[in-house]
Symmetry: C2
DNA sequence: CTATTTGCAAAGCATTTGCAACAGT
DNA sequence: ACTGTTGCAAATGCTTTGCAAATAG
């Protein structure tokens, strides 16, 4: 995801009678600039002009629109990333940082689970837990 | 995990100067009786004599002792289960219910991720998302 | 007898909401 | 103009904590 691609999201907003406000553009741009998995607070530190309520409300909106994903793992703070398929996450148990893993998707498990449990299956996630290099160095 | 096995946990408590109170026994027994993945509130509905604070405090304690696991997925409510390895979860996106999946553990991914990311890896989880039979029937 | 535990009420923290002022389109 | 959006302050909902009274060992 890069800055030009934000423009491709504008029609999506207009289609639903949602407005293209400077706050929305800044939140998406900041998400790109931080190119990781920031919390709502992380984003607000970068753009303190925008109220936390607006950041939360818009993150929630973007999740509903499918533009971004919410990652509720860890210590009660959600983290956000642009939607993309085919990747899993490693989570640092010390600092909560999340990194992407490129690993071939385990597609076969979904059908397996549907047969085994009677659930209708939509998707799946995997998270690997450990300690990031920074936290290892800090002890 | 069955009721007799609760007794095997008692020495673990005594070892750490923790007391075997009726509340602790009842919370563990209730977790067994519900044999699923209840929330703190679910447990309290079954044993309303015990205060929610005590339930939360003891669940937290049991997690620290490694007796149970906390499953923080979904909408801000944690669910709890007895510790056991080699299983993943299916989660109903409508009602939040969690069920176990028996699926061979994907051990190889942990080493892969350690090499790929520089994290020291401790463990991993997988959750499959969908709709449970009950919720499918309800529409 | 002594240190731990209970349970109430209050605090904490991330997130959401009500509402009046504001701003896209 | 019309309707969606912002942002403050207050509310919410889950979880934790302070502290006095109760209790396990």
């Amino acid at each position: 995801m890069n800055k030009d691609q934000i423009e491709s999201l504008i029609p999506l907003l207009k289609e639903k009678n949602l407005r293209v406000t400077p706050q929305r553009i800044q939140i998406l741009t900041t998400l790109i600039d931080m190119n990781g998995h920031p919390t709502a607070e992380d984003i607000q530190k970068r753009i303190p002009i925008i109220s936390l309520a607006t950041i939360y409300n818009n993150l929630k909106l973007f999740v509903e629109l499918g533009i971004i994903n919410e990652l509720p793992y860890g210590n009660g703070l959600s983290r956000f990333e642009f939607s993309q398929s085919n990747h899993y996450h490693v989570i640092c148990e010390s600092c909560g940082k999340i990194a992407d893993i490129n690993y071939p998707e385990l597609t076969e498990i979904e059908e397996m689970v549907a047969n085994l449990t009677g659930f209708s299956v939509n998707n799946h996630n995997m998270e690997v837990y450990g300690k990031c290099q920074e936290c290892i160095e800090k002890g």
